[in-house]
Symmetry: C2
Subunit: 161 residues, 2 copies
DNA sequence: TCCTCCTCATTGACATGTCAATCATATGAT
DNA sequence: ATCATATGATTGACATGTCAATGAGGAGGA
């Protein structure tokens, strides 16, 4: 049975070849994510989620953001962010303050310890990205990976309002 | 500053362009994973992890596998598998049996309810793969995605013994 | 004003994942 | 036979993620 054989007939399901490409794609991105997370955590004590939050806060005006702006910046649901901030606050990386403009709101402020941890993690993180991603591919493949991801993201956004 | 400008000079860190491609690549594969997981769970009550385990057992001789063989088949650490099997056993999808050949070992057996759930999930799962992955890309992009993933996986395997 | 509706953010319950430690059994050397 | 060691699998502690429910405050119309 060739690569263009549908897994089931007459229902527009993926062919075997498409399924093989899908499987290696997801399994590899998952393995890559796990490896990068393990390295970052070993070398810096930060998780990728910590890193993202600290990056967004570092780049913000006054190193502070409204909780909802931060959620947009990192692309997470509110509840996920809320849980994560609780853990980061417990570790002294960030601090919550009441918002003057809207008493419902919260402002998330980068603590000194958080800034230090972030700066110490930047080079290890970028080095890992180079070793695990950039060094593995040709420049053309890197660009193609970006294009493919953009196409997938556009398609995904179109069908998840 | 152009796309070939190193983020930091003289240490072989990724360029801004490489970093952009990396970021869209990981963020998109993560979003895709989450969307597929949510759909599968809504439509079938199974998580992607459940599905993988049930698939491996369905394809095995006698619909049973040694725990370690199952771990290899799905590519997980033992402890992760053990935790997951505990949850699946609680739901009646699989069953553990003592192993005749090696009294340390365990055999994992597909339960009737697990087989039923798996068969009911196959078409929804494949449909979601088509909608979210296959339909988003050209045939050339699908093949390229597979090639890129294989290159990443080979590189990753080479440096994680 | 008061009432309704919307938004901001948090919480609790639970599913999932990682790591290190543990326990029991097999295996091989003496 | 005995002992040291390796292997198969599980467990506990904890980090992370999702969903649904909640509380608490703003915003606008009757």
């Amino acid at each position: 049975m060739g690569d263009d054989t549908p897994v089931r007939r007459g229902r527009r399901l993926p062919t075997r070849g498409e399924l093989r490409d899908w499987r290696v794609f997801t399994e590899t991105s998952e393995a890559l994510r796990a490896e990068l997370a393990a390295r970052l955590h070993n070398e810096t004590g930060l998780s990728p989620s910590d890193y993202r939050v600290l990056l967004a806060l570092s780049e913000a005006e006054g190193e502070r953001l409204r909780s909802s702006e931060l959620a947009d910046a990192v692309g997470w649901e509110r509840s996920r962010l809320s849980h994560h901030l609780k853990r980061m606050e417990r570790r002294g990386l960030i601090r919550r303050e009441d918002c003057a403009a809207d008493s419902r709101g919260a402002e998330i402020v980068l603590e000194k310890e958080g800034a230090t941890a972030f700066h110490g993690a930047t080079v290890p993180h970028l080095t890992a990205v180079r070793e695990l991603f950039v060094d593995a591919l040709t420049p053309e493949q890197i660009a193609a990976a970006g294009e493919i991801a953009r196409a997938l993201a556009a398609h995904l956004d179109a069908r998840t309002p």
